[in-house]
């Protein structure tokens, strides 16, 4: 209960598909059972095709993500190139081990595509930088057991990227509460480990990374994924965010699941309250 790793809560998952990777996290920031914010992203981008997921103590999520922003910016200026996922993973490892006797309370996950071959790369770490290389999936955070279960049952080798998208969606939905339950876990008694909202990124190597066609790809991707939209969320920070990374660029943000706060929901009556909260302001 008092472990720094579980004070704020949060989960992240990364998985490999055929020539693609996906990484996802929830967006909740909590204090034990209390939800403080539903817009606290835990995935950070450090290059064309490098993503870092950070779960654990929220303050360290910010500190560590800022630290790597600094380190990767310095790397880019020094070497005049983007950092490769494998190189970045080793940087994460050595940076965390530097704090061996006063660690950051985070469990990082790295996902990306190797720039030279386009091969998918994922790995996880413990808080002092021991790397866990994986060919299939990596989970981390307070819902890691649940994510392990979902991944073990849903993951299969060589998923094309839309399949991977589906599987990731399944993994994320397990973390989300029932649509009609109240908004704060402490009121509903919803299990603490159900994380309301998530964000996901999916990567695939470039097909047409050439002039002009990137935008086309983005448009196609967003349109193709429109079918997965299942909730009423309409803002980037609402519902479950799924950013699809393909063509070594972010395809677009797709929102699935339910919106969380009343003001992101279109005017509607809730079952237990005859008077809609909006009428207060009429």
């Amino acid at each position: 209960m008092s472990s720094p790793f579980s004070i704020n809560g949060g989960a992240a998952v990364a998985m490999v598909g055929k020539d693609c990777v996906a990484i996802a996290c929830d967006l909740r920031l909590g204090l034990q059972a209390l939800t403080v914010s539903n817009n606290f992203p835990k995935i950070f981008q450090y290059g064309d095709n490098v993503f870092l997921g950070l779960t654990g103590l929220a303050t360290d999520v910010s500190t560590v993500s800022d630290l790597f922003r600094y380190k990767v910016n310095m790397y880019r200026l020094r070497e005049e190139r983007h950092i490769a996922p494998k190189t970045f993973a080793n940087l994460v490892s050595s940076s965390l081990y530097e704090r061996r006797f006063g660690p950051y309370f985070v469990s990082p996950v790295v996902a990306g595509l190797e720039p030279k071959t386009g091969a998918p790369f994922i790995c996880g770490f413990d808080s002092i930088g021991c790397i866990d290389f994986a060919k299939d999936f990596i989970v981390s955070g307070t819902a890691s057991e649940q994510l392990f279960g979902m991944c073990e049952s849903l993951w299969e080798p060589d998923m094309v990227y839309l399949d991977a998208f589906f599987v990731m969606r399944g993994c994320l939905l397990i973390m989300m509460p029932e649509p009609r339950c109240a908004l704060r876990d402490h009121i509903t008694g919803a299990p603490q480990r159900r994380r309301p909202r998530c964000s996901l990124r999916l990567g695939r190597p470039r097909l047409h990374h050439r002039e002009g066609q990137g935008h086309k790809a983005v448009a196609e991707g967003a349109a193709g994924l429109e079918g997965f939209r299942s909730g009423g969320g309409h803002r980037g920070s609402e519902g479950t965010n799924i950013s699809v990374m393909a063509e070594r660029a972010i395809y677009g943000v797709v929102t699935i699941g339910h919106s969380e706060t009343p003001w992101s929901r279109p005017h509607q009556e809730t079952s237990h309250q005859a008077q809609a909260p909006w009428e207060l302001w009429q």
């Binding site: 020094r78 070497e79 005049e80 190139r81 983007h82 490769a84 190189t87 080793n90 940087l91 490892s93 050595s94 940076s95 720039p115 030279k116 071959t117 386009g118 990374h209 050439r210 002039e211």
Partner: protein, 283 residues
């Protein structure tokens, strides 16, 4: 008191020169000639091994050094200063790179690190500049896909891809391939296709300008290196008196292990006296 007041010995003259650095360059220009030639598939570094006495054992003398498995170095100037720089280069390639990223530094990064060491000696208190110029040769892995060389630079130039040069890899952090740098006592550094440093640098460079062609293969480069050396050398040329280092294909026989999957041998290696003799007989 010495540690309290420590002034740099390299100070500006009224005319705006740093004469200590010019003196250091004089020391370099009295040194034994060393040269480097970049080919499409590798690099050759060559120099003469001069012993002061016929009693000296030349096999113990070594002027070309391996820094990382893919990077080697040769010098002209003061031997002891060079040894210090080799030590620093080997050390910084680990502390500043291998231990952080678990891979060896690209050539330019290592060159910058060594150049920084040399520059600091021109601005720090109580030290003198290093009396050497270096030739650093290395192979970069690159990060661009093999089939899309120059993709970053050639953006918007689609359709002209058929005009790619044969051999393709011309070095650098992005594309990968061979790189050859010269580092001077001031800490400045330059990339070269082919160059020479030391006593007969001017003669050697003139010769290289005549013999160098684009699309050179490593074997030809070794040949040209020996011909250039022959122009400037004072003593006899044989496997004992000539030293050659090459950056070429991975030398898996130097790994020391067999059957390890994914293990790649060093690209930098020094030619044995026997190999040099073989080249010389074909000259």
């Amino acid at each position: 008191m010495a540690d309290r007041y420590s002034f740099s010995l390299t100070t500006f003259s009224p005319s705006g020169k740093l004469v200590q650095i010019e003196y250091a360059l004089n020391a370099v220009n009295q040194g034994v000639t060393a040269l480097g030639i970049k080919a499409t598939n590798g690099i050759v570094l060559a120099t003469e091994k001069k012993s002061s006495s016929p009693l000296a054992d030349p096999s113990s003398l070594s002027k070309i050094s391996l820094i990382t498995p893919n990077i080697g170095m040769v010098y002209s100037g003061m031997g002891p200063d060079y040894r210090v720089l080799v030590d620093r280069a080997r050390k910084v390639s680990h502390t500043g790179y291998k231990r952080i990223y678990n891979e060896y530094p690209p050539t330019r990064i290592l060159v910058q690190d060594v150049a920084r060491v040399m520059q600091e000696a021109t601005q720090s208190g109580g030290v003198r500049p290093y009396g050497v110029s270096l030739l650093v040769a290395g192979w970069d892995e690159g990060i661009l896909p093999e089939d899309e060389e120059g993709g970053e630079q050639k953006e918007g130039e689609k359709g002209e891809e058929g005009e790619k040069k044969a051999g393709g890899k011309t070095g650098g952090i992005l594309k990968g391939g061979p790189m050859l740098y010269q580092v001077d006592p001031s800490g400045s550094y330059f990339p070269w296709k082919a160059t020479a440093i030391g006593k007969s640098a001017t003669t050697a460079k003139t010769f290289l300008e005549k013999r160098y062609t684009e699309g050179l293969e490593l074997e030809d480069a070794v040949h040209i290196a020996l011909l250039t050396l022959k122009e400037t050398i004072e003593g006899e040329m044989n496997g004992e008196t000539i030293e050659i280092g090459i950056v070429g294909p991975p030398a898996d026989h130097l790994l020391g292990v067999e059957g390890v999957e994914g293990a790649v041998g060093p690209r930098f290696r020094k030619l044995t006296p026997q190999e040099i003799e073989d080249y010389l007989t074909n000259l």
